[in-house]
């Protein structure tokens, strides 16, 4: 009971952090797994969303929703830009795309520091969610609790749209056979643009939602890109369920794992990632299996 009491907050926080990673990685896994575009500028789109949300936030609910809207629209527009840039490279494999988006991420990062400066930007969230709540005698930030709910809804909606709607089916079909989708009367460039736009929108929205936890600053883009990469590699690109499992596993490793063995904190994430990859290579197991394996070690 004592151990459960000590590790309760880290375990709960692991869910919040894992969901944050899932929301952050969703746009990347969509674009990479389904669209085949390796978007190195993903973290920059996240940071852009955070900066946009921070710049309109003033502590009122209307400004919070406006911030999310502005972040989503900004992400969508930049996604469109990305679509235009990557379309000519669509048949050239991942490397030219990675190079292009890497260049765009450098330009984007410099534009962001020129406009917003090099300081970290505070996001002023509404007072009613800025405080803390008591859960089983422990203090926990209200915003993170709310984030768990919002991110869960987002994950459900995303899974539904991709798996059960016509638009989702079209995207998945385009990933399997572009030419057939074209023959059905959907121009491939339009599907590509829609995918990039949706991925950009997700990244921007995640940036806006996550800004109170991973604040927008000059390091945000790199940090988010790295964690998102870890999530999609562990969860297998394109698999929403896999990304979800991997994100929660990484979240728990970074919180519960740290609280159980803080001496190993610097090595936990990448050590367990290495274990998961080696195990997967030998077993050829499914994405969910890899996520569960990592979770069991945590």
């Amino acid at each position: 009971m004592g151990a459960i009491n000590t590790h309760f907050v880290p375990a709960l926080d692991g869910v919040a952090y894992g969901l944050l990673l899932f929301v952050a990685a969703a746009g990347l896994t969509l674009l990479f797994g389904i669209g085949g575009v390796l978007n190195i500028a993903h973290g920059t789109l996240f940071a852009l969303g955070g900066y946009l949300a921070a710049s309109v936030s003033d502590g009122s609910w209307s400004s919070a929703f406006l911030g999310l809207a502005v972040a989503t629209v900004g992400g969508t527009l930049c996604g469109g830009l990305l679509a235009a840039g990557t379309l000519p490279l669509a048949d050239r494999g991942h490397l030219p795309q990675a190079l292009l988006t890497f260049g765009l991420s450098l330009v984007g990062a410099d534009v962001l520091t020129t406009v917003y400066g090099t300081d970290e930007h505070p996001v002023v969230i509404p007072k009613s969610v800025n405080g803390t709540v008591q859960i089983f005698g422990h203090v926990y930030p209200t915003y993170r609790l709310m984030f768990i709910v919002v991110a869960s809804v987002l994950a459900l909606v995303g899974t539904y749209v991709l798996g059960r709607t016509r638009a989702g089916a079209l995207l998945r079909a385009a990933a399997d056979d572009r030419e057939m989708v074209g023959a059905m009367g959907y121009a491939p460039w339009r599907v590509h643009a829609a995918l990039c736009g949706a991925a950009g929108a997700l990244a921007g929205l995640a940036g806006g939602l996550g800004a109170p936890i991973i604040g927008p600053g000059p390091d945000t883009a790199d940090k988010v890109l790295m964690l998102s990469m870890v999530v999609i590699v562990l969860g297998r690109p394109g698999s929403v369920l896999g990304a979800f499992g991997a994100a929660i596993a990484v979240g728990e490793i970074e919180t519960l794992g740290v609280s159980i063995s803080s001496n190993w904190a610097p090595y936990l994430l990448f050590g367990l990632m290495a274990v998961a990859l080696v195990v997967r290579t030998f077993r050829g197991s499914s994405a969910v299996g890899a996520g569960a394996a990592a979770g069991a070690h945590a």
Binding site: G117, D119, H121, I214, A265
Partner: protein
């Protein structure tokens, strides 16, 4: 507030552009100015700081403090018109070597000021020492073998903790939980604290009685680390964090089980932009620093009013004050180095310098380490008018050797 930051960046960019343009124009101008050896010939001073790269949030303050001194002293140091050659150390270390070489070999600078990152010190100081050029350093100070030409305006990494340790041993009714980032600077800072604290009779509450080091720079969520503090029975926390780490740590602390346990820290946790980003979460944090903008002295009032006039009424960060002092030390040393000052003469004059009257109070350079022997102040984050500020609430020990 954002526009002021933009203008700072623009200014820095223009300064870099100007230096590049001068370099492109060839070294003929600098050699001709050097050969015209009349009474008060203009002099070149180098200033290396981080204008791009991972330390770019810190770089401008190093430049702006020095520039402010020049602005308020007719662009003169020791009676000579100064041409300031600004160089970018980028991510620090080897990147600064060509910058320093150009300053020494082409610009024939009298001295090099600034330098943010400790690897840059290790790369630049041997080159400058070989050429006899003094380095007046305003950023971090690593261990250096030959300090004959290195003069530090800031502090030794162990000093902030050493000033706070005995105070907390006396005033905290119980044990203290200590945190720091997992890199050399973090170890030095925490060693300074734990050595002084345990020597004064204090006891750490951490597991195994040793300070906890959080992975750097990848820790964004400190909640799991903080969850152990309350269970340990600690009566206070001491930590050293800077930049993004500082902001995340303060926010997570203020919304955790440990929020009622007082937070003590090395002053960087609430300096400048960090305090703004932390907002109300930082209210009540107690820090140690060798500077507070509300120190009551003529030298400090002059510095603070000049800074706030130029930067929209903001209070100056400690870093800008170190840079102001670098200019002030050079001003006095060059004045003593005669009508045709040489780098060697300037270096000797700095060595012979006694007490320095500074915005932080009077201090002097240690004859041994060339680091300030100075007083440390106890500060508390409080509402000062309409904004949160680091308000001085007492004096700590004088530290340095």
């Amino acid at each position: 507030m954002f526009s002021s930051r933009v203008s700072v960046r623009l200014r820095a960019a223009v300064a870099v552009g100007a230096v590049t343009a001068l370099a492109a124009a060839g070294c003929s101008s600098s050699t001709s100015s050097k050969s015209s050896a009349k009474g008060n010939a203009p002099i070149n001073i180098g200033l290396i700081t981080a204008l791009t790269g991972s330390n770019q949030a810190l770089g401008p303050d190093h430049l702006n403090g020095f520039q402010l001194y020049l602005d308020t002293h007719n662009d003169m140091l020791g009676g000579h018109k100064v041409s300031l050659k600004v160089g970018d150390e980028a991510n620090g270390g080897a990147a600064a070597v060509p910058v320093a070489k150009k300053m020494i070999e082409q610009d024939h600078v009298l001295a090099i000021a600034g330098i943010v990152a400790t690897p840059t010190i290790q790369a630049v100081v041997p080159i400058a020492t070989a050429a006899g050029v003094p380095v007046v350093n305003t950023g971090g100070r690593p261990t250096v073998k030959d300090v004959s030409h290195l003069w530090t305006m800031s502090f030794m990494s162990t000093d902030p903790g050493a000033s706070m340790g005995p105070y907390m041993a006396q005033n905290v009714p119980g044990s203290v939980y200590a945190f720091g980032p997992d890199y050399q600077g973090g170890y030095d800072q925490l060693r300074g604290f734990t050595d002084a604290y345990t020597k004064a009779g204090g006891k750490l509450a951490n597991d195994g009685g040793k300070a906890t080091f959080t992975p750097f720079p990848n820790t964004t969520d400190f909640t799991p680390f903080l969850s152990k503090v309350k269970a340990s029975g600690a009566k206070a926390i001491y930590c050293f964090y800077t930049g993004q780490n500082a902001i995340d740590f303060v926010k997570d602390w203020s919304q955790s089980d440990a929020k009622d346990i007082p937070l003590y820290a090395a002053g960087f946790i609430t300096e400048g932009g960090a305090l703004k980003a932390e907002g109300q979460a930082a209210n009540g944090i107690i820090t140690t620093m060798n500077y507070s903008p509300d120190i009551s002295s003529a030298a400090n009032r002059q510095f603070v009013s000049a800074w706030s006039q130029k930067y929209n009424g903001e209070a100056p960060p400690a870093t800008a004050m170190y840079s102001w002092d670098a200019a002030s030390v050079l001003d006095q040393a060059i004045a003593k180095a005669g009508p045709n000052p040489t780098p060697d003469a300037v270096n000797s004059a700095i060595k012979a310098m006694g007490q320095i009257d500074s915005p932080r109070g009077t201090w002097q350079l240690s004859a041994d380490t060339h680091v300030p022997v100075q007083k440390w102040y106890l500060r508390k984050v409080e509402m000062d008018g309409t904004a949160l500020a680091n308000v001085k609430i007492g004096d700590l020990a004088t530290i340095g050797s």
